[in-house]
């Protein structure tokens, strides 16, 4: 069938004719290259019209097709004995025994947040929740990873305040606890903040759903919010650099309706329980286009869509607008013909608008009808499977070679107490209570470890087991060495869940990078992925899903490369749940792992010098594995009172953080060959601070020896001061409460300054 080729009246003016598109090269306005335009012509065997071209443009955007990152993502390990679903569906699925599985995924909403932080961040949460319940899983926890510029800037404070409020608003209303996350502040994110949201769900194996269209003649049902002109070309927008021109290109902002999402979630889960659905997919980036095309391609069928039946919020919408709208809180369902009424009954009960908007057809044509006319007709596989792939070449930047020669002598003269106060006050390291107090972390009454410890823990109703989860990423390490930084993100995330008493299961990752067309950025991406992949292989935590966010740049300058890792682990028994805080005076402090006094890329270096240099801490994956298995074994045998992984800020900060929750002091007296500052503030990897009763010490040490993990007895939990003596001289002696005040007040104080938009 030849779609109508006449130019069309639109609200934005006249749509160009196919010939005009060709002659005036209008495809470039949609972000397509001349060669991609040629490919479209080849696929269609004629000139595409404006609607068709719009559809190709979003389907072939980086956001939907991963055209720049696909070849690299193939290098990540995605298999394992527990993997039920790897990357490709809405979210990854991992077996956790008893016929149950955990479903999780992370996703970015960076560009929308830069434009409208409250709605941008809120709709990011909404999208990731839909990804999880579209698998048939009940969402049980949310996490987020945030990056903003320095809080001295009023614009940054506005963005940060609004983004956090938006995340809180959405998650709280839907009624899913937000149990963890991380926040870092660095000048590199000033114009391009990052908001990555992660959702974790639980499912019984037999309830697992797929985003697929099947059964010739079956109806395709639209459910949820009506379609407006919001976010048209959001996917393309997300695949471009932010510039002043983006102000104009800016699609009308997508606003979220978490109440609608709650109804949608309950309705969809009810349909899953009733075993009615053949296919289900959420309308995320590129809205109706992407969801319907992907379902169709995956089913190896064709599709007819009737746009007049799509619930619409605005009048006079064109096919182009309806297809590309990114209105939130919408889903597509495929059910067997004849079961429409059963579906409608459930949707009506939840007061949700719904309509049959299409039929599964034989063959592979993807056809769209509007006002009884065929307005698009394309082979569906060319949208999804035949998206162009760019094989790019990375190039090592010269700065990388310089890194090896850096020394950190300039930090050694610092006073240890001053240094500790300075890092505790640094917003990246300071208490995030200001943030997580705004999140309902306890709704659903299954949160056993709330925000504030290394990893959050969620118990499973009716079982003794629990899930631990954490998101981590240190972009400074990645900036200095992408391979090591990528691997370290995985290692740290695993270490965090191990410290909570869990065996790491698998990860989801969000790759936030600059423009991949730049060889140095591509080099960062390639190496970070390789580092992550190697760590995942070594730690047996496959990658079961994720998201790529490229073009994170302002005025041509890329952000620090920021891979963020979301890790989920399984706690075998609730008795194993462990937190980072000291539990009682008299417990002995035992540090596992070796200290190399590494200050490259450390928080102290950043705070004191205002920049980072050198190499990040070395990561020895064999040592990491031995450490994790030792810690987990000690926890499972109930040998320890607390476990806290050492990360930014090193040993000094880890001791302080463990002291805060229960206001318990530290008495430490050690000998070392290292100088004081690198000893206390170096960020050597693969280290964990344990506190344990005296009588357990011998057992812990022999276990560490057996596994070849270096250990050091630091002192004990005692009094109410943090008192540290190194090589016979006392270098820090401060009331824990004073340090805690500095740490607690840093972000609230910074945020008390004025806000503007």
């Amino acid at each position: 069938m030849q779609p109508n080729q006449k130019s069309k009246e639109t609200t934005m003016g006249m749509e160009p004719t196919p010939e005009e598109i060709r002659d005036r090269q209008l495809f470039s306005e949609l972000g397509l290259t001349p060669s991609e335009y040629q490919q479209v012509q080849h696929h269609l065997g004629r000139l595409p019209n404006w609607t068709e071209l719009g559809i190709y443009s979003v389907m072939w955007s980086e956001h939907c097709s991963y055209k720049n990152s696909k070849p690299l993502l193939k290098r990540l390990p995605t298999d394992g004995p527990r993997v039920l679903q790897g990357p490709g569906e809405g979210a990854g699925v991992i077996d956790i025994g008893d016929g149950q599985a955990v479903v999780f995924k992370i996703e970015s909403h960076n560009h929308p947040t830069a434009v409208e932080p409250f709605q941008g961040a809120a709709t990011g949460v909404g999208g990731i929740i839909r990804d999880v319940f579209s698998m048939g899983a009940r969402p049980v926890a949310l996490l987020n990873s945030l990056r903003f510029g320095p809080l001295e800037s009023p614009r940054v404070r506005y963005l940060f305040e609004q983004a956090v409020a938006g995340i809180a608003h959405y998650g709280n209303i839907v009624g899913i606890p937000t149990v963890g996350g991380e926040v870092e502040f660095d000048a590199t994110y000033e114009g391009n903040p990052l908001v990555n949201a992660m959702c974790v769900g639980i499912i019984d194996h037999e309830d697992l759903q797929q985003g697929v269209a099947k059964g010739i003649g079956n109806p395709v049902i639209y459910v949820g919010a009506s379609t407006g002109r919001d976010g048209i070309h959001g996917a393309t927008f997300a695949s471009e650099e932010l510039s002043d021109a983006s102000e104009e290109k800016r699609p009308s902002v997508q606003a979220g309706d978490p109440f609608m999402e709650k109804l949608l979630m309950e309705a969809c889960l009810e349909l899953v329980q009733k075993e009615i659905l053949l296919g289900i997919q959420d309308m995320g980036a590129a809205g109706l286009t992407c969801s319907s095309a992907e379902m169709t391609a995956k089913g190896g069928v064709g599709l007819d869509l009737y746009l007049d039946d799509v619930p619409q919020r605005e009048v006079g919408m064109t096919p182009y607008e309806i297809m590309l709208s990114e209105s939130q809180e919408r889903m597509l369902l495929v059910v067997a013909e004849g079961r429409e009424a059963e579906v409608k009954e459930v949707l009506d009960k939840w007061e949700l608008p719904s309509a049959v908007v299409g039929r599964v057809t034989e063959g592979n044509r993807y056809r769209i009808f509007h006002h009884r006319e065929c307005v698009a007709d394309m082979p569906v596989n060319t949208l999804v499977d035949d998206a162009p792939i760019n094989y790019r070449q990375g190039e090592e930047p010269s700065s990388y070679r310089d890194g090896t020669t850096a020394s950190h002598q300039d930090l050694h003269h610092l006073d240890a107490t001053d240094a500790l106060q300075q890092v505790l006050r640094a917003p990246s390291l300071a208490s995030k209570r200001w943030v997580y107090q705004q999140y309902d972390s306890m709704v659903r009454t299954s949160t056993a470890v709330r925000p504030g410890s290394d990893a959050a823990v969620i118990v499973l109703d009716g079982f003794d087991k629990a899930l631990a989860m954490s998101v981590d990423g240190n972009s400074r390490y990645v900036k200095l060495d992408p391979w090591v930084g990528g691997a370290s993100a995985v290692a740290e995330a695993a270490r965090n869940v191990v410290c909570a008493g869990a065996r790491p299961l698998a990860i989801t990752d969000c790759l936030n990078f600059g423009n991949p067309e730049k060889p140095e950025v591509f080099w960062q991406l390639e190496n970070a992925i390789d580092g992550m992949g190697e760590a995942c292989r070594q730690l047996a935590t496959p990658v079961v899903g994720g998201n790529v966010s490229l073009y994170n740049e302002t005025k041509g300058v890329a952000i620090h490369p920021t891979p963020v890792v979301g890790m989920v682990g399984l706690v075998e028994s609730q008795e194993h749940i462990t937190t980072q805080s000291f539990k009682q005076a008299g417990d002995v402090l035992l540090l596992l792992g070796s200290n190399r006094g590494e200050l490259g890329g450390s928080e102290l270096q950043q705070q004191v010098l205002g920049s980072i240099s050198g190499r990040p801490p070395v990561l020895d994956l064999e040592a990491e594995k031995a450490l994790q298995s030792t810690v987990l074994h000690l926890i499972q045998t109930k040998t320890v009172s607390s476990a806290h992984d050492l990360s930014t800020g090193g040993l000094a900060v880890a001791l302080a953080e463990a002291a805060f929750a229960n206001a318990l002091g530290v008495h430490m007296d050690v000998k070392t060959d290292l100088e004081t500052i690198p000893y206390l503030f170096g960020e050597s990897q693969s280290r964990v601070l344990l506190s344990l009763p005296k009588e357990s010490v011998a057992k812990a040490i022999s276990m560490a020896d057996e596994k070849g993990v270096p250990w050091c007895q630091l002192g004990e939990v005692r009094g109410d001061r943090l008192s540290i003596t190194i090589n016979g001289s006392e270098v820090i002696s401060q009331p824990v409460s004073r340090l805690q005040t500095i740490w607690e007040e840093a972000i609230p104080c910074a945020m008390n300054a004025s806000l503007t938009n």
Binding site: G175, F259, K262, S441, M442, R444, T445
Partner: protein, 227 residues
Amino acid sequence: MRFAVLVFPGSNCDIDCEKAIQKVLGEPIDFVWHTQRNLDDYDAIIVPGGFSYGDYLRAGALARFSPVMEGVVKAATEGKLVLGICNGFQILQEAGLLPGAMRMNDHLKFRCDIQPLTVVNNSLPFTQDYQMNETIRLPIAHGQGNFYCDEATHYELTQKGQIVFRYQGDNPNGSVDDIAGVCNQAGNVLGLMPHPERAIVEWMGSQDGGKMFTSMLRYWEEKIGAA
């Protein structure tokens, strides 16, 4: 003792209330959809937390027109126990079953924490297992818990013992007189912003919520026994 926990579009602590009753009392409890008018089968009604109708317009304002609220009003009039938690409290206020109204928290942010409270009245069916002036810790999680009533009402509440819980230490939302929970004059309808159902077992960080449910059961058993 038969419990009903109401479910409005947007309720999200309904399941938590059910789990708590199961765990603490083991008494039967049903979810009752907001379209059901009749609640005659139940001895106690829990109006749970969440965001009924998204809390759009005002928290609780849209839910109070649900058909099930007829049943709630009837139950309250008959002297049955009605417990409104968080959003449930707001709904009962909007329905006129409890005094006052909620404003946005004075700091304008949602606040989730475990909050110390003082039990100000322990002579109610909901609080008899607590000690007078006992300090308890219950989770809070709300954006609009800033209780308001005018001075005359406040005087009356004080005189009649209708103030049931007060926030201890820092007031988390700016509420008048640190009020965290109030009851009606008859004492059979209680509303509170904190969440007793979230403080049931040790890993939750507090177990102080359990006594509210055991109080209710004891009250009912004594009433039945007397009859």
